[in-house]
């Protein structure tokens, strides 16, 4: 007897929904094993990690604040990946957006008007989009793999930010800390609740819902999925593959840039060397966990946000390194990709004789 993977005649719709749930379950089980290997009580640790963040209004608010950028970036990446365009550099586009949007509070700090905030949002999106167009141009002009270029550009953007806040944009009254001036008045997003909830959450939700509508009902959404899944049929339909690369990078880069600007104009309130706990990379997991569907991304973003808060929780209460957050996120992505195999394949127990036949037909 032997366990084989057999290709399904048709992709399984049940598994398409069930696979992320299975991946979450496997992640939790592996997490429990990891905690007990570290000598911590696994059930308590898992409770603190996944349930505790949802038991007080304060921590729920924190989960929502973290989910905001994840959903905004993840929705753009979902569209991108659906079109078979691989933007891995959302973290860099986020940084570029924050830098560009910060021009207004840093250079024109006296311009206090709602228009100033609007201009910041526009510049943030524009900065991310322009930064995203660099790999798009390299791909369409020279055929350079966009995975490599978009990833490498992340470090360029982060080092640029680092230089700017230590050099030209350093707050002259900031006791030599590597920070820009604090954003004041109309250069900050409206906040409410206990002070951390902000307008950016609404922007994320609206953007995800709009993209959901576009993907589901409009010709553009149809174009994206056809070009991504059947390029020759896409050419027959008159959809240009090159234009799709430009569109996807502009869209996902723009949303990542907007997310970066919202972070610095919202919870952070100024530029500093580190403005994001790897939101741009975590959003890749969010996009996949959400089935590359902007609606699914909303739920996936909330779950990944819990992993950040839970990581802080176990650090405080059990003294476990907050690197567990990255371990959990890594496991989750690994298990999703693994479980996704079940959408197209199924397990089958076979006897030795039929195994021989399968080998032959596979050859």
């Amino acid at each position: 007897m032997q366990l084989l993977l057999e290709k399904r005649a048709q992709a399984s719709g049940v598994m398409n929904l069930f696979s992320p749930l299975l991946a979450i379950l496997l992640t939790v089980i592996m997490g429990g094993i990891m905690f007990s290997a570290m000598g911590k009580p696994p059930l308590t640790a898992l409770y603190i990690y996944f349930i505790d963040p949802l038991t007080s209004w304060w921590s729920v608010e924190e989960v929502l604040v973290k989910a905001g950028p994840l959903v905004l970036i993840g929705a753009g990446l979902a569209v991108c990946f659906k079109a078979n365009v691989w933007n891995i550099g959302a973290e860099g586009q986020l940084t570029a957006g924050a830098l560009m949007g910060a021009i207004i509070p840093v250079m024109w700090g006296d311009w206090q008007s709602p228009l100033g905030l609007l201009a910041m949002l526009v510049l943030g999106a524009l900065g991310g989009a322009l930064f995203g167009l660099i790999p798009a141009w390299l791909k369409t002009r020279f055929g350079v793999n966009e995975i490599l270029t978009s990833l490498m550009l992340v470090y360029i953007a982060q080092l640029l930010l680092d230089w700017v806040v230590r050099g030209p944009w350093k707050d002259p009254h900031g006791y030599n800390f590597p920070k820009s001036v604090s954003f004041e008045g109309w250069h900050q997003l409206p906040m409410w609740g206990d002070g951390r909830m902000h307008l950016g959450l609404v922007v994320s939700l609206v953007a995800a819902l709009i993209l959901f509508w576009v993907m589901r009902h409009t010709l553009k959404g149809f174009e994206i999925s056809v070009v991504g899944s059947a390029p020759r049929a896409g050419a027959f339909a008159g959809f240009s593959q090159k234009k799709m690369v430009w569109f996807c990078f502009a869209l996902s880069g723009g949303l990542a840039g907007l997310a970066g600007l919202i972070e610095v104009a919202g919870p952070i309130g100024q530029l500093q060397p580190h403005i994001s706990p790897n939101y741009g990379f975590t959003a890749i997991i969010v996009a996949f966990l959400g089935r590359l569907n902007p609606m699914g991304v909303i739920f996936a973003g909330l779950l990944l946000a819990i992993s950040y808060i839970g990581g802080e929780g176990v650090q405080i209460e059990l003294g476990i390194s907050d690197k567990t957050t990255q371990v959990f996120q890594g496991m989750l992505l690994f298990f999703i990709l693994m479980c996704d195999t079940l959408i197209l394949y199924r397990f089958k127990w076979v006897s030795a004789k039929t195994t021989e036949y399968n080998k032959v037909s596979a050859s």
Binding site: Q10, T218, V226, A233, F236, G238, S361
Partner: protein, 522 residues
């Protein structure tokens, strides 16, 4: 009884008894029994999906039967793999070749041979063997430089090197010119004279009559008849294959030919793909009310021509192509559609249609750009007009007899013939003024082929200009008012269909017109 079996085992090479193959609940082969005799060419006939490939794959060890037995030279065997089949003495030439274009003939053959046969001077043995059997091959030639007929010879020589007792050939003449086919038949006759048996899979009835001594006919996985093809006519064989008499396509030859709606003038293009075919100074005119066919063996530039004419590939600086009197080289496929043109590519799955999409989505694929429905299908932010798409799907299904499991099924769930009717119907439903259609009935059952051909003729008689690219000469003679032949990226002059014989076309397929074209260009 006993004596009789003994007699049989002397001449019977391979026998399958009560063999069945089940895929899920579907019987691809249902209780088949047949014997292949030494020294004979045995035809296996049937429409697409009749179960020919399944049966042959079981004989070649690529599939295992669900029930039933196989006897090889009188002994019961279980053929577990293609390697096992080759050890027994069964060789097979597939319809689709598996050759590396960047390697030479001898390198390709060497890759596929067992180590024991690779020893010694393989090149010399290839040259000798191919010479002996009238299959001239240069062992040092690069496969990329060879014609399809020559490539097939490599596959045949590869089999013959292993000295098979039974040679299985899957639709071998589908890719050959009539002259190349005659040469192949001579080789096959030579083989059977030496005592070898040949199992010959085809749906070309004339050639089955020409070279086969036995014929087994399959329909829906069942054996319907075993006949001597010499005693049958092509019509009776066709009737056995299809199970009913095939609808005759009617063509009114006194059609009114009008203005030129599609014209190509000195169209030249260097291929962008490696091993692609360059197009050279192609001239062609298609008039209103006229069907022009381009004959030729596949891979001689037809695919390249289709993508240039359809606008999948654009040449904005050129003035080669005119559609409805307008220079169109710089227009994309949708702009050409909006001028009144429609296109049907050769491959229905993955090019003309997307398998995982529903039929309505597949209609959208080629119908989203031009307002040839009651209102635009694309309503921008409001989304796609699904109700109109559903109506189109209903009309296409009704007018072109598309049989489907449910109204808006996925393309993958349709059979080849029904999907082709859908893909053609999707374009004809627009009543295009210019239609370019590549291999209109390739791999389609006779009933669907007749419906598609009739629909194409009806459209032309309503005043549309139609260009057909096909390698099926029967189809070309059935449809075309005029014929041109393509070989190695060059197109012959256009002749009236009545002025050409099959032999003329065969010579042109082999390139007899090419020199003239070059002289004309020079």
């Amino acid at each position: 009884m006993l004596k009789n079996t003994n007699n049989n085992s002397q001449t019977t090479l391979l026998q399958v008894k009560n063999i069945s193959k089940k895929f899920g609940d579907f019987y691809a082969n249902d209780d088949l029994t047949l014997s292949i005799e030494m020294g004979k060419v045995h035809a296996l006939l049937g429409e697409n999906g009749a179960g020919k490939s399944t049966l042959v794959k079981m004989m070649y060890g690529a599939l295992q039967p669900t029930s039933g037995h196989i006897f090889w030279q009188g002994k019961q065997v279980s053929i577990t793999s293609p390697a096992h089949a080759r050890d027994l003495g069964i060789g097979m030439v597939f319809q689709h070749f598996s050759l590396f274009e960047a390697l030479t003939v001898v390198e390709n053959i060497s890759l596929a041979l067992p180590p024991s046969l690779r020893k010694g001077d393989l090149s010399q043995r290839i040259a000798d063997l191919s010479h002996d059997y009238g299959l001239p091959l240069n062992p040092a030639a690069l496969v990329a430089d060879l014609s399809v007929g020559e490539r097939q010879r490599i596959e045949i020589v590869r089999c013959l090197l292993q000295q098979p007792k039974l040679l299985i050939m899957d639709e071998p003449t589908a890719v050959l010119t009539p002259q190349e086919a005659q040469a192949l038949f001579a080789t096959l006759r030579r083989l059977v004279e030496e005592g070898c048996a040949v199992l010959y899979i085809s749906h070309r009835l004339e050639e089955v009559k020409q070279i086969c001594q036995d014929a087994t006919i399959l329909r829906h996985g069942k054996l319907v008849a075993e006949v001597d093809p010499q005693l049958e006519t092509a019509a009776t064989l066709a009737q056995l294959m299809v199970g009913a008499s095939v609808h005759e396509v009617k063509r009114d030859t006194n059609n009114d030919v009008g203005a030129v709606l599609l014209s190509l003038t000195q169209l030249s293009q260097v291929s962008s793909a490696p091993f692609g075919v360059d197009l050279l100074a192609i001239d062609l005119q298609v008039r209103s009310g006229e069907i022009v066919a381009i004959a030729g063996v596949a891979g001689n530039g037809q695919g390249e021509l289709f993508s240039v004419v359809s606008g999948e590939q654009m040449n904005p600086d050129q003035h080669f192509i005119s559609i409805m009197g307008q220079v169109s080289d710089g227009l994309n496929i949708n702009q050409r559609r909006c001028l009144g043109a429609a296109f049907v590519p050769e491959e229905r799955m993955g090019h003309g249609a997307v398998e995982h999409l529903t039929l309505t989505d597949n209609i959208l694929l080629s119908r989203h750009a031009c307002n040839d429905t009651a209102a635009s299908l694309d309503r921008g932010w409001l989304g796609i007009d699904r109700s109109q798409l559903a109506l189109l799907n209903k009309n296409i299904g009704r007018d072109y007899d598309v049989r489907k499991s449910k109204e808006d099924a996925t393309a993958a769930s349709l059979s080849g013939g029904n999907l082709q009717k859908f893909v053609v119907g999707r374009e004809l439903n627009r009543k295009p003024k210019v239609l370019v259609i590549n291999q209109p009935t390739w791999g389609v059952d006779a009933g669907a082929a007749a419906l598609i051909r009739q629909a194409v003729i009806d459209l032309s008689r309503q005043g549309s200009a139609i260009l057909i690219i096909s390698q099926d000469l029967d189809e070309i003679f059935e449809l075309a008012d005029s014929i041109a032949v393509m070989s190695r990226g060059q197109l012959s002059t256009t002749y009236a269909a009545g002025d050409l014989s099959r032999e003329d076309i065969g010579l042109m397929m082999a390139g007899s017109h090419e020199n003239h074209a070059i002289q004309a260009g020079a």
